[in-house]
Symmetry: C2
Subunit: 146 residues, 2 copies
DNA sequence: GTCCTAGATTAGACAGAATCTAAATACGGT
DNA sequence: ACCGTATTTAGATTCTGTCTAATCTAGGAC
C-alpha cells in the first residue's frame, strides 16, 4: 500500500529497497492471515513474476532479522509470517495448525534470577486449542455439523 | 527407568506397550535436555537396535497426541521434545536454537470474549533471547571469550 | 547522467526433516 | 495356542528451506 513507508522502514534497518522486497512486505501488510513462505511466493509471483522462490526466502529471513516481520513456527508444518503491526499474541489450532491473532495484553516476564546469564529479548504467549472451524459444535443439543 | 509406570501411562492412553515405545519414553524421561527426533533415534537405536527411524517419528507423534510428551517447534530447525514432567515454560535461543526450561509460573489467560468459539487447551509462554553460551560475555571490561 | 560496487536476485541443485507405503511383525485378549 | 489389529520397518517420497555461483541492480560518488 504505502510504498514510501515501506521504503523508509527498509532503509532505517539498512536494507536496500527493491521491487521484490516491496512486494513481499506489501503483501504481508495487506494479507489478513499468516501465510507460509510458499503461499507468499505463489501469490506475489503471480502478480509480479520478478520474485523468485529463493528471494522470497531470502527476504523473509532479512525482514524477520530486521524486526519488520514475525515468524511463527508451527510443529510439523511450514513456518508462518506476519508483518509486525499492532502487538498481539498468537493462537495455534491443535488440529489444523492455523495461526490466529489474539488481542494483546501484558504477560509477566520470568524472574531475572531464573534467567541467569541469559539475555531476554521478548516474551511470547502462545495459546493452543481448537479454532472455530475445528472446535466441536456445541449446539443446544450437541449435534455436530461438518 | 520405571518400566511399569511407563506401561501404565501408555495403557491409560490406549497405546500398546512395545519395547520401542518404552525405550523412547524412558530416554525422554532420563535425558535432561530437549532432543530432536534424529537425536532420540540415534541414541536409543545405539542401545537397542530394534528401534527404527520411522518408528521413532511414529511414536513421538503418538506420545505427543497422548499428552505424555511435549513438542517444541523451533523456527528453521528440527522439532524438539521433552517428557511432560513438572510444568515449565521454555526459553529458545535466538542464535543457536537451543531450548531450555524456565521455571513455571502462572500466566493470565486471554479473556473468553477474545477467544470466541475457540477451545482453549493451554497457554504457553516462550521466552526468547540469547542462551548462556551465546550471550555476549559481560566481564568487568567487556572483553569477550569465544 | 555515468560509473562503480556491495548488496540483491536467480535457477536449480542440494540438504534436512518428516511422512508415506505396503509388507512383515508382535501385542494382548480369548 | 490363536487371532485381529495395532505396530514396526526399510526405503521411497514429499515438503521446507538453504546454498552456489553467475548475473543484475540500487543508490552513492563524481
Ligand atoms: Mn499475527
Ligand atoms: Mn522442557
Ligand atoms: Zn483448526
Ligand atoms: Zn544459544
Amino acid at each position: 500500500m504505502d510504498t514510501e513507508s515501506i521504503r523508509e522502514s527498509l532503509e532505517t534497518t539498512g536494507l536496500r529497497f527493491t521491487p521484490q522486497r516491496h512486494c513481499v512486505m506489501a503483501f504481508l501488510m495487506e494479507y489478513p492471515g499468516h501465510p507460509t513462505a510458499a503461499e507468499i511466493f505463489e501469490a506475489v509471483n503471480r502478480l509480479d513474476p520478478r520474485l523468485s522462490r529463493a528471494t522470497t526466502y531470502n527476504n523473509l529471513r532479512d525482514l524477520v532479522q530486521a524486526g519488520l516481520v514475525r515468524e511463527v513456527a508451527v510443529e510439523g508444518r511450514a513456518a508462518r509470517f506476519d508483518a509486525k503491526g499492532v502487538r498481539h499474541h498468537h493462537f495455534i489450532c491443535d488440529r489444523c495448525g492455523n495461526v490466529e491473532d489474539v488481542e494483546w495484553y501484558e504477560v509477566p516476564k520470568p524472574a531475572l534470577s531464573s534467567l541467569g546469564k541469559r539475555t531476554l529479548r521478548e516474551c511470547e504467549l502462545i495459546v493452543r486449542g481448537l479454532c472455530t472451524k475445528c472446535a466441536p459444535a456445541k449446539g443446544r443439543d450437541g449435534v455436530s455439523a461438518v
